[in-house]
């Protein structure tokens, strides 16, 4: 019988492949599975060059756009549809965002199931570590749902791989409750933020999610949760959830959070970590922001697709005394980092100086029309918030930067928590700022001004109106992925017009459930206004 059984044994071998059953036998294997969703999140939560969460969250707002620039950037009209709020139900980019985010969610479900199915000892970790890993993954899964809910509102909730086969759409309020309960149930089992938890979901990240959840609760559920928002914010402001470099506190300036050694920042709550020097893992956002010849400007190796620029007029919302204007944005004539010579263009400004201008029109042919179709290679003020550093010696003697290309991308930072708490206080106060709220904002804002300029630029309860708060949020969090969310909360996303954008319909504050997904899963329901 034994011989007979082996004669029909069709067991499949893996050899150079790894199977889940052969995995989770030691701590590094467990870590490699727990960390997998983070490298994936690079694709959707950062401006990675893929259609993830970031693009629709920013390019549908009033600060950033990807206008057609000469022969480049038309891209089938996808950028225009985001800007005009005329996306279609089968918009490829939105389907891709859905796919990437649910894929990442699945990359959380899979290790949760596998960890739960195994004894700690078999995996070479302690019971506490196992519980902490599971809590971290459940929180990270909640983060995926939070960002999915942000874009699509009513979405299916799936907590097991492959089950059910055709999950049903859940209303946004139910999704909200699921996320909240997942965070509350797991926050205490998760590790506090520490240097060892850098680039990962921790208790700090969990409280930041709660702040975001409660700040938007009125929009997302109809019920405001200002007290809860303030309470969650206080956990972080009081450094009760750890910090990536000791006590969590605001960085003293507007540079430390974004520079290529921002792993040393004290205010970063959660980030996607990159290290080019030792790990060959580099930020992927230059493709979105950089000009075709940006490497000459920065003395680096990276160019881009000359894509996303500031919408005309955004640049001038910063006062000239605002250090964020000069530090975070790139405008004017550009110079070669290594030689000091003027950088020339490669398209309309071929052989002529490349000057980034605060307008989008075909200046080279003296056209004055300014729409999404009228860009040329130098149109618009550029991103300069995160600086990669330089690989070359500068013409002014700047030495090579050994941390070139190592910047982490922030998902939550303490400044954002300060702003959220201030907003909760103001809204709780009927829309009027009190001194506590003003102090929170001023503490952050003060860093962007020279000592001598500060007095003239400080807010008072009278000047910090809700509109001013929105404007200040725009200035502080530009490029960070929150603009659409802010505009919705302030009631301006679909009702206002800006530059080439006309007011759209209220239903456009949610994106459509991708038709491609509905075609495969009849239990998905389209959002209102898209049928």
């Amino acid at each position: 019988m034994l011989a007979f059984a082996s004669c029909t044994d069709l067991t499949e071998n893996a050899y150079d492949q790894m199977l889940t059953d052969d995995f989770y036998n030691n701590r590094n294997e467990v870590l490699s599975a727990v960390l997998r969703p983070y490298t994936h999140a690079n694709a959707w939560v950062t401006p990675s060059g893929q259609d993830g969460w970031w693009r629709p969250a920013e390019l549908s707002g009033d600060q950033l756009a990807w206008p057609t620039k000469g022969r480049h950037g038309e891209d089938g009209g996808k950028w225009k549809r985001l800007h005009y709020h005329t996306w279609t139900v089968d918009e490829g980019g939105l389907n891709n965002a859905w796919r990437l985010m649910y894929w990442g969610m699945g990359l959380c479900n899979d290790p949760i199931e596998n960890l739960e199915a195994r004894e700690s000892a078999d995996m070479g970790i302690s019971d506490e570590e196992k519980a902490a890993f599971i809590a971290e993954l459940k929180l990270l899964r909640a983060f995926h749902y939070l960002k999915l809910m942000d874009l699509f509102g009513n979405i299916p909730i799936v907590t097991q791989v492959g089950i059910p086969a055709q999950p049903e759409t859940r209303p946004r309020a139910e999704v909200f409750n699921f996320i909240e309960s997942e965070i509350l149930e797991n926050v205490n089992q998760a590790p506090v933020l520490s240097r060892g938890m850098m680039g990962r979901m921790s208790q700090a990240g969990a409280y930041a999610m709660l702040v975001e959840l409660y700040l938007n609760a009125e929009v997302w559920t109809g019920t405001p949760r200002w007290d809860d928002c303030i309470a969650a914010a206080n956990k972080l402001i009081n450094s009760e959830a750890g910090g990536q470099n000791g006590t969590m506190e605001l960085d003293p300036n507007i540079i430390d959070q974004f520079k290529n050694t921002n792993d040393l920042s004290k205010e970063v709550i959660m980030s996607i970590a990159y290290d080019y020097t030792t790990a060959n893992f580099q930020p992927s956002w230059p493709g979105e922001f950089f000009h075709f010849k940006q490497r000459e400007i920065y003395g680096g190796a990276r160019n881009g697709n000359n894509g996303i620029v500031l919408i005309p007029g955004v640049y001038t919302t910063y006062s000239d005394q605002d250090l964020r204007k000069s530090e975070w944005l790139l405008e004017g004539t550009q110079y070669n980092f290594a030689t000091g010579a003027v950088v020339t263009g490669s398209e309309e400004y071929n052989e002529r100086p490349l000057v980034f201008v605060d307008n989008i029109r075909r200046n080279s042919v003296n056209e004055t029309s300014s729409t999404m179709s009228d860009g040329e290679e130098n149109s618009g003020v550029r991103f300069n918030k995160y600086k990669l550093g330089n690989q070359l010696v500068g013409h002014d003697g700047t030495p090579i930067d050994l941390n070139y290309n190592n910047n982490d991308w922030n998902i939550y930072r303490l400044t954002w928590i300060y702003f959220a708490k201030a907003e909760a206080i103001i809204r709780q106060n009927g829309g009027t700022a009190n001194q506590e709220a003003v102090d929170l904002i001023n503490t952050c804002r003060k860093r962007a001004f020279a000592e001598a300029d500060w007095a003239a630029n400080a807010y008072t309860p009278a000047t910090l109106t809700l509109d001013e708060l929105l404007a200040e949020r725009g200035r502080e969090f530009i490029f960070e992925g929150f603009r659409r969310n802010d505009l919705i909360r302030f009631g301006k996303f679909t009702s206002e017009s800006w530059w080439d954008h006309q007011a759209s319909q209220a239903t456009r504050s949610l994106f459509p459930i991708p038709q491609q997904q509905i075609d495969m899963n009849p239990n998905l329901q389209q959002n209102p206004g898209y049928n």
């Binding site: 011989a3 069709l10 499949e12 071998n13 150079d16 995995f23 960390l35 492959g162 850098m198």
Partner: protein, 998 residues
């Protein structure tokens, strides 16, 4: 096979051995002589040559002793005085003679290889006389093989089997294999290769076959025959039988050929002078540089001194009980390209030993082939054809000219090296035991091993080294290894019995275990500081120290296990019935579908045996066959059904080191299974007009369901966005005809004509099911500049190979393209709707790339001792996209151009466009081979035969097609009919060969 599996196999073998021992005891007890028997002896001769025939089987009809003639054609047998003796031998018409009390009986056998009565056809795990066959099997033997020197055994039967396409897309490149397709496309993503069975070795390696060692090739074309090979048989089964040892006087055979090739049909491009003149006249814009040289880059890549030769020496002999055949082969094949060759040494040994009262017959085959191939050359034809001819491969100081825009291919061939050292081996063992009368047990086991070692080197002064940005001027070296091992163990039990002199049963049952494993590794390094090591000391390159060297390894295996059975029943030699079942499992199948059943049934009716046919004089033989069979395709990737973990890039671990992360990179599909083909076949075998015309006609209809492909999955709940699953259906139907006509058959002069023809219609019926949908699939990448996408779109329900593109409507006055939109209006390209939605698109079906008719005709003449053969092949009623004209018949290209750019295509002043403008008929008729041979009359009795022959190959092609040789353009698969911009040169070759036997 690892130790564990070896142990399991051993256990199985021990079990089998015990059974055998019991059976042996039975036989010994039963093997007694009957008392009334007399001793009969005599000799057996060939009717024509009067040669004594060794190895003829002599049996007492109805059970009793079986003997074979010895080396002198002599036999001795015990039989009753009333018995009937049956004399049979492969290649001869059998005879039955009554003993009638005689003690000496001499017999002459008539050799007739072509006769349906005697041709033995391999049908898998056994053979049948052609007359008994009920499925569609094509049999090709040595005398019909092509004679122009084969690289691969399949070259020998190109155009010889109706319905079998053998296409050489790389022409005569010695380091290439032909693509083979039987009865249309049966798969989209699975294995499209037929199963090759060499002397019973399933999945046999064709590299082990030298043309002079092959006896015959049989092709199981339909499902009713192929089902015995189950899940490997969808693309057909090709059974190769090699020459075996025969008892008798020692015989020696020496065969050779020497071949020389010449380029023909070279694309017609401008010479340097013409190029210059056209710049001067303004026909070519002055943006083109004139460097002042005159270079024929293409010609510099040609190996004008090519000479290939092949030598095979075989010997055989032995006794009734012990005989052998051994051969050694040497060949040196030189391609038409420089540094493009293959040198092989091989040996093949066949040993046969009889024992146990002639009840046990053991056969052993050992085969080895060593190949030293030069893989450096044979490519880059496009770049060399269309480079600016006023450039040079050399600088004025004689050094090689390099620039960043192009590769100096000539320098590459002269400076770099790329060699493969390959060893291919097979060993198989087969023991037949006659257990009791009619019952035979067989144990078959085989092992095949294929391994190679590749080495490549680019010295410091080579272009790739000089232009490398990381290590400029540092040499590059690489090595890689590959090893595959294939095991098969297939015991069978066969029972033959004739009941009541009318009911003939042959029943065979067996078990099959096939295991395949492959592994390999590769490493490369750069930045060597001198050229001393080549690839012999890989670790010395600088890139390794910098972490930029390359290294990789892989290993995978798979297993196929099956139980199978076949019953053949014949009633009175008139009615035949065959039923086959194979139950097979593969390690690749998903856990829910590990085993599949592949049944088949077929029937034959020898109509000419019927009473009512006895007066129909023009019919000598007529058989009707009908069959149905199911087969499968298990040829897809390992681990395709299971979730494997994939690297997701390195991330920050708690100790601040970055390490790899892993997550599932595939959706599971526990239902994953074989593609399944169901096929009906109706056939007719006939011999008419006084044995002058014989032939066969087959009509088939096949449908492959559960086609495998990658489909988009909903997320959630799936993690990944696609799944490999069984969804679509592809079908084909067709008619195949093989005819053989002996026009003249006189003593000094004969003429016979063989015709092979077929037509097939292949349709992608569906590509969707309830869960997964796709309206169409795209195939046939157009390639070249201009990102033109795919030329072929196959919509559900439509024919395979349909070109979908724009319809040319003329040019504007300034040479811009105009195309018809769906309303029939001529519009500019930017107004054309390129949608794949057939309700909206301006694109239209503009041709079909699958040849509708395949035809070949062979004329054989003999005059006294001369033989003369003309073999012609053709493909008809299909289209080819002339990509060479598309890209290089357009003055947009800055390098060299086709002459046609200034004549046929002179009007164009616009960019590259894909439309019916470049679709041309590919129909052609080729004089493929002409052979003239002379067989010498040899004085000494020691010499058996001596024939010298001369063959010209690829002598003429009649076609309207203006691109490359249409014979070499892909016509198999789902993306056929796209011409190459840099086809391997079509060659005309001449060959002289000798066949010498002594």
């Amino acid at each position: 096979m690892d130790n564990y599996q070896l142990k399991k196999l051993t256990t199985a073998l021990i079990g089998f051995k015990r059974g055998l021992i019991m059976l042996f005891s039975l036989i010994i007890l039963s093997g007694n002589l009957s008392a009334q028997d007399i001793k009969v002896s005599g000799v057996v001769r060939d009717v024509q040559t009067k040669e004594l025939l060794p190895g003829v089987t002599v049996t007492v009809k109805g059970g009793g002793q079986t003997v074979r003639t010895d080396g002198n054609g002599r036999y001795e047998i015990n039989a009753s005085a009333q018995a009937t003796l049956v004399f049979s031998s492969i290649g001869y018409v059998g005879q039955e003679l009554a003993v009638n009390g005689r003690s000496s009986i001499n017999v002459s056998l008539d050799s007739d290889i072509q006769s349906l009565e005697t041709v033995v056809v391999q049908v898998g795990y056994g053979n049948l006389k052609q007359k008994e066959v009920t499925s569609a099997v094509a049999h090709v033997d040595t005398s019909q093989f092509r004679q122009s020197g084969s690289r691969n055994a399949l070259d020998l039967i190109q155009g010889k089997v109706p319905g079998l396409q053998v296409t050489r897309t790389s022409g005569s490149n010695p380091n290439s294999s032909p693509s083979v397709q039987l009865r249309g496309v049966v798969t989209v993503t699975g294995s499209a290769s037929p199963l090759y069975v060499i002397d019973g070795i399933p999945g046999g390696n064709m590299d082990l076959l030298q043309q002079d060692d092959i006896l015959s090739i049989d092709v199981l074309k339909d499902g009713s025959g192929a089902a015995i090979y189950g899940s490997s048989a969808n693309a057909g089964v090709i059974l190769v039988t090699t020459k075996k040892g025969k008892p008798g006087a020692a015989s020696f055979d020496y065969n050779n050929y020497v071949r020389k090739e010449y380029v023909q049909r070279k694309p017609n491009v401008l010479t340097a002078q013409e190029f210059r003149d056209k710049i001067a006249s303004g026909e070519l814009s002055s943006s083109r540089a004139d460097r002042g040289y005159s270079t024929d880059f293409y010609d510099m890549m040609i190996n004008h001194d090519n000479l290939s030769h092949n030598h095979n020496f075989a010997m055989s002999g032995g006794t009734n009980n012990t005989n052998y055949r051994a051969s050694v082969n040497y060949r040196n094949l030189e391609g038409i390209g420089l540094e493009n060759g293959r040198q092989e040494f091989g040996a093949r040994l066949n040993m046969n030993q009889r024992g146990f009262n002639d009840r046990l017959n053991v056969q052993l085959n050992l085969v080895n082939n060593f190949n030293n191939a030069n893989l450096l050359g044979g490519g880059a034809w496009e770049s060399e054809l269309f480079k600016n001819p006023t450039f040079s491969n050399f600088n004025d100081d004689g050094s090689y000219y390099f620039d960043l825009q192009s590769t100096n291919e000539y320098a590459r061939l002269m400076q770099e090296t790329s060699f493969r050292k390959q060893q291919t081996t097979s060993a198989d063992f087969k023991a037949d035991l006659d257990i009791i009368a009619g019952l035979k047990g067989t144990v078959f086991g085989s092992y095949q091993r294929n391994s190679w070692n590749d080495s490549q080197y680019a010295p410091q002064d080579s272009e790739t080294s000089i232009e490398n940005t990381d290590y400029p001027g540092g040499a590059w070296a690489a090595k890689s290894d590959f090893l595959s091992q294939a095991y098969a163990f297939e015991p069978t039990l066969q029972y033959d019995r004739l009941f009541a002199e009318k009911h003939n049963f042959t029943v065979i049952g067996g078990y099959s275990y096939r295991y395949y494993k492959e592994e390999g590794m590769s490493a490369s390094n750069r930045g060597f500081i001198n050229d001393l090591f080549h690839e012999d000391n890989l670790g010395q390159g600088t890139a390794l120290i910098d972490g930029r060297a390359g290294m990789g390894s892989f290993k995978n295996d798979n297993k196929l296990i099956a139980f199978f059975g076949r019953v053949n029943y014949a009633f009175n030699g008139k009615y035949m019935l065959q039923a086959v079942i194979r139950r097979e499992g593969s390690s690749r199948f998903g856990t829910n579908n590990k085993w599949g059943n592949f049944p088949a049934v077929s029937a034959g009716w020898n109509v000419s045996e019927e009473e009512f046919m006895q007066n129909v004089n023009f019919v000598n033989y007529l058989k009707l066959r009908v069959g149905y069979g199911e087969t499968g395709n298990s040829g897809f990737s390992n681990n395709a059904s299971r979730v494997t973990l994939g690297g997701g890039g390195r991330y920050l671990y708690p100790d601040e080191a970055y390490r790899e992360t892993y997550g599932p990179n595939r959706n599971p599909n526990p239902n994953l299974r074989w593609e399944s083909k169901r096929e009906y076949n109706l056939g007719l075998d006939f011999t008419l007009f006084d044995q002058k015309l014989n032939g066969n006609l087959d009509v088939f209809q096949r449908k492959t369901v559960d086609l495998l492909d990658t489909y988009t999955t909903p997320q959630p709940p799936f993690i990944q966005s696609n799944i490999y699953t069984n969804v679509g259906t592809i079908s084909s139907k067709g008619i195949e005809l093989g005819l053989s006509y002996k026009a003249i058959d006189k003593k000094d002069f004969s003429w016979s004509v063989d015709l092979v023809g077929s037509t097939t219609k292949n349709t992608l019926d569906s590509y969707s099911n309830d869960i997964y949908t796709l309206d169409y699939k795209e195939f046939g990448s157009i390639g070249g500049a201009g990102a033109l996408g795919n030329a072929i779109v196959t919509y559900e329900g439509e024919r395979v190979g349909e070109f979908w593109g724009k319809r040319f409507a003329g040019f504007t006055e300034d040479g811009k393209w105009l195309f018809y939109n769906r309303n029939g209006e001529a519009v500019r390209n930017d107004q054309i709707n390129n949608s794949r939605n057939r309700e909206l698109t301006d694109l239209a079906p503009i041709g079909n790339a699958v040849p509708k008719y395949l035809l070949s005709i062979n004329n054989s003449f003999t005059y006294k001792r001369f033989d003369f053969r003309v073999f012609m092949r053709g493909k008809f009623d299909y289209d080819i996209l002339n990509t060479m004209a598309l890209s290089y018949g357009n003055k947009v290209w800055q390098g060299n151009l086709l002459q046609d750019a200034f004549t046929k295509y002179a009007e164009i002043d616009d960019t590259y466009m894909y439309s019916d403008y470049y679709i041309e008929s590919g129909s052609h008729w080729k004089i493929d081979e002409v052979t003239i041979g002379y067989t010498f009359k040899l004085p000494a009795t020691y010499f058996r035969n001596l024939r010298v022959y001369f063959t010209g190959q690829n002598l003429a092609t009649i076609t309207g097609y203006s691109g490359n040789d249409p014979d070499f353009i892909q016509d198999t698969g789902l993306g056929p009919g796209i011409d190459s911009r840099g086809a391997y040169p079509s060659t005309r070759s001449f060959l002289i060969g000798v066949n010498f036997g002594f």
